[in-house]
Symmetry: C2
Subunit: 622 residues, 2 copies
């Protein structure tokens, strides 16, 4: 077990070091450019945002990797102990993220004295996150598809089997993709929502309007910490234990937010908007759960139609994925409208802050997923049998559902942060309206909508290419290394780790560059109002497209697991093979493209806001 | 051959009769409701639009079905003769469509005297079209997938083999889906663009502004007729012959439009906007051709990665589908901006009219596809060998590319018509701005964006269900009818036709109802400005989503055909089986969901414009 764990640690550190080096060069260059174009304050906060985001990712990955083996060891003693180890480690990840976020925002505000300077912080954080999401997604899914296709389908060995050459790359990918990715995703929208709320708050309500978002954010951290002590498994029902913890955090968070609001403003108007945000977290978790858990109709339907082959499996998965966007979008739309009714534009920003206040709790739940997944992998890898393996299966099934819930949460946080940032953009530009009946705005609108399609295509192809190379390499190793299939020879894990790393580094720059360059082109040609259209259009496609990909990916995954649990004939049937195809199609959906789009949206938002006054001064047609 | 042809005719007539009956009941009820709510003029024009659209579909299908067998017969004599028969019949379909459209618009204008009353005409036309698209799409693709999966993959018999029980349903589907569907799609945006241009023209430029769109539309009909005499195949190069005809029509159209503009206005300002539209047709045809033809990189890449199985095939197909939206959206955005620069809002309407003026030519090219496809089917069915079969293969390959080009054309026409209709909506409501910074508009925006995801999910599932039932039925027939596989017994074609018909009728009402009801809900609660947001949001997602589905579907289809032509080992290899999976996933994309979304968008636009003043009077929050 120690041997596997060390291999995973080494792989993850190597990848992160190489990624950070590449990103550092890119980031340093951008800092210099920003310093010239937008001034030294913007450059400094940008660098701070990038460093803080990188730091929180790094801490998350290190904590998670160390938690893997401890969870695996605990599982050999007792399932409850394994659950506690995994959730406590998850809480550390969540707390460090929210803590660094709040610390960064509050201390930079104390230094610069005006929240408008903190926009750079959001820029730095989302740029780092885009690299983590895109790079991590390509890394993990190339490896995952390669491992599954040749291992499971062609050679017929189980998942996470040590004979599979791509298995270490796959395990490393879980950590860099799920922990560093989801963490930095939530981190950047956390920073973005706080900054937007502070900008709007200070301009409409004065110092109280600035203090309230920080109070709500702090409330979230406190309640997450308290709630983590309530996660305790009775009768080994891990699902109830984890979601129970979430409810405790939500209730406590609501109470503290209400009290702070009353103390600051003397009434509860601003609190109602916050409340809408916190309640939305629970509603959206239920919706995601319905669409992605094998307890309900949609996933079972996908499993059923796998009996007529991969085509019907893929068609139904896509259909349910498209459908799963409807309720979240309606809920989001109503939240925006309600919070505006309660307290105007500031209410929308407080909706976002309220939604994000439970970030520590949700990130902890999210980190739990890859921790137990890896612990399970380590146990299977070390061929430990019996109770421990069974215990890990139970915990892992819950982890799959929390991962999907938290990915949807990350998308929604970005969407709300973007709506809040949109108001900040309007404030920063001094535009009174962004009128979609004006053709330059219409043009900006449809180009903004197209952007998420463009980035999706780039990421899907990068994952596809990496997977294609991985499949060829794994096939080659099984063909050329004698005794590999019988377990007598060791595969060349390193080669597979290399393929993933190279694919990730190669694939992650183009999406980031496009995201920065396209708003600039639109802004300097069609003008600032067209950029407003671009932001609105991008929100309109990113939200449903990201939700579709993340939820359909999770439902394919769980449909496959449902069949593997023995339904419709179980493993080895054509039905199972069909479900594996859907799962592989869903891999780049849920962990690469779907998970990156929301960050891209925030990045476009913050770049546009930072450059807004420059667009006004230099645009060609406006 | 006569026997097959009669079976197809009977199946198509039965389906169309049942569909028209169901739609007539729904339409009659709606006419009465409209008469009460919006007055008798709206009800009358609505009924006229529905009848004209139905008539043009019916004529199209009858012409095409009769052309099938004549083309098949001609192919036994000479490939050029087959090409001429197919294109001339296609021209009849295109001319009847454009002729009825222009006739309807001009005669109703003469009766009512104000183009605002013609909105009902657009409503009727798009409602009928939505039924034709959704119903026809479900019909044809359920049958197609069922026929392919069991026939090709499981039993191992060729496409269009008479032993396949689903083959007649598949052939019927080609006619009702491709001919009635694409025809009525273009018809409704044709009417919509003309009406929008007339509304804007009469309010900004007086009678000349009203006459010019009709002159451009008439120019298109004349040039299409003249161009059809230029379609002549030298050296059997059908592709060059057909596209050559298109270029002749385009050049002639431009010339007549320029002359009419100069005669009416004394300058060419309005003509430039029209010119942008006509040039865009050619640009977009090239882009689609690049992404969907096996002559170029994208389709070949999809074929190549089929070597690592269906998952990589599906992932790359989706990736290229997403990518294929980028250039068309950028071109559309630039067209809107340029035509606005040339002549304001009226310029945008004239962009749409210019784009639509070549409708007769493009519809003719589109109808050519299913005509030769069916003729090829009849020849294979009747087991005619030799030259005729080879000739049909050549002609059919071209048909596949023209079909994709015309589907993209239909989507783009709807998008331009919608932008024009949006201006008409603004005129009708008297709103001076639709401001996306106002939260009710933001809410309308994201709900409008979500709508296309909702409808896509409904249609994909309906096709999936129909295909699932079809697969089970075809499997049952092969298992239970002794001697079927050996060709000694006849399959029960009628049962399969029934499954398709029932699936289509069952699946087509919900999308239509949602499309009508949701704008009404938003309008009567959040108010008319939110409906403006809804329209804009819907345009933003519909355009790229529809393009993605139609183009990825066509590229999967052609990647499969590329492999069938002998590349990567050809038919019978795992590579080919993987490509068949992609093709089946693409079926509901390109012919059902992707082809319906644009109609849905126009329907939302016209419903919103018709009810605009009612929203202003009765909305809850505005």
């Amino acid at each position: 077990m120690v041997e596997v764990s060390e291999a995973i640690k080494l792989g993850a550190r190597t990848y992160l070091d190489r990624q950070f080096l590449a990103v550092a060069v890119f980031g340093a260059a951008l800092t210099v450019v920003l310093g010239y174009v937008l001034g030294v304050f913007a450059a400094l906060t940008f660098a701070a945002g990038a460093v803080l985001s990188g730091l929180s990712s790094y801490i998350g990955v290190i904590v998670a990797i160390n938690a893997n083996i401890r969870t695996a060891a605990a599982a050999q003693r007792d399932v409850n102990e394994a659950l506690m180890t995994a959730t406590r480690s998850g809480t550390v990840v969540g707390m460090s993220l929210a803590g660094l976020g709040l610390l960064g925002v509050s201390s930079l505000y104390l230094i610069f004295g005006d929240p408008i300077y903190l926009l750079g912080l959001g820029f730095g954080a989302s740029l780092i996150c885009l690299f983590a999401r895109v790079g991590g997604g390509i890394y993990t899914k190339g490896a995952d598809i390669g491992a599954d296709l040749v291992g499971k389908v062609e050679v017929g060995i189980p998942e996470d089997d040590p004979r599979n050459p791509a298995v270490i790359a796959d395990q490393v990918g879980d950590n860099v993709g799920d922990i560093a990715g989801t963490g930095s995703d939530v981190f950047q929208s956390y920073v973005m929502a706080l900054v937007a709320a502070m900008i709007l708050g200070v301009s409409t309500l004065g110092p109280e309007g600035l203090a309230y978002p920080m109070a709500v954010a702090a409330a979230g951290i406190v309640s997450s910490l308290v709630a983590s002590f309530f996660v305790r498994s009775r009768n080994s029902n891990a699902q109830r234990a984890i979601y129970g913890g979430m409810y405790v955090a939500v209730v406590l968070d609501i109470a503290i937010a209400a009290v702070s609001c009353y103390l600051l403003f003397g009434d509860l108007n601003q609190f109602y908007a916050t409340l809408v945000g916190i309640v939305a977290v629970v509603l959206l978790a239920w919706i995601t759960f319905y669409y992605t858990s094998a307890n309900w109709g949609p996933v079972r339907e996908i499993a059923t139609v796998s009996r007529t082959g991969p085509a019907t499996n893929v068609i139904f998965g896509l259909a349910r994925g498209f459908e799963s966007t409807v309720l979240p979008v309606v809920v989001s739309g109503l939240c925006v409208f309600l919070s505006f009714l309660f307290s105007g534009l500031y209410g929308i920003a407080m909706l976002a802050v309220g939604f994000l206040s439970v970030a520590a709790t949700l990130t902890a739940m999210s980190a739990y997923g890859p921790i137990v997944d890896n612990a399970k992998g380590i146990i299977e890898f070390a061929r430990v049998k019996g109770e421990a393996a069974k215990a890990m299966d139970t915990l892992d099934a819950v982890g799959n559902s929390t991962k999907a819930v938290c990915k949807v949460y990350a998308i929604q946080t970005s969407a709300f942060a973007q709506v809040a940032m949109f108001s900040a953009f309007v404030t920063a530009t001094g535009l009174r309206v962004i009128d979609v009946t004006r053709p330059p705005v219409t043009t900006g609108l449809i180009i903004g909508g197209m952007l998420s399609f463009l980035i999706t295509s780039q990421i899907l192809r990068a994952v596809g290419k990496s997977a294609y190379r991985m499949i060829e390499e794994v096939r080659r190793q099984f063909a050329q290394i004698p005794g590999l299939k019988e377990g007598k020879a060791k595969p060349d894990y390193k080669k597979c780790v290399d393929i993933s790393t190279r694919g990730a580094l190669r694939g992650m720059f183009l999406p980031a560059a496009l995201t920065i360059v396209i708003p600039l082109i639109v802004g300097y040609t069609l003008g600032v109002e067209a950029v407003g259209g671009l932001l609105a259009g991008n929100l309109v496609t990113t939200l449903p497209l990201a939700l579709m990909m993340v939820q359909s990916g999770a439902s394919w995954d769980n449909a496959k697991k449902y069949i593997e649990a023995g339904n419709f004939g179980g493993v080895g049937t054509p039905t199972h093979a069909a479900a594996v195809v859907g799962d592989m199609v869903g891999d780049p959906f849920k962990d690469a493209a779907g998970a990156s789009l929301d960050v891209l949206m925030n990045l476009i938002g913050v770049v546009s806001t930072l450059f807004a006054s420059s667009f006004i001064a230099y645009a060609l047609f406006a």
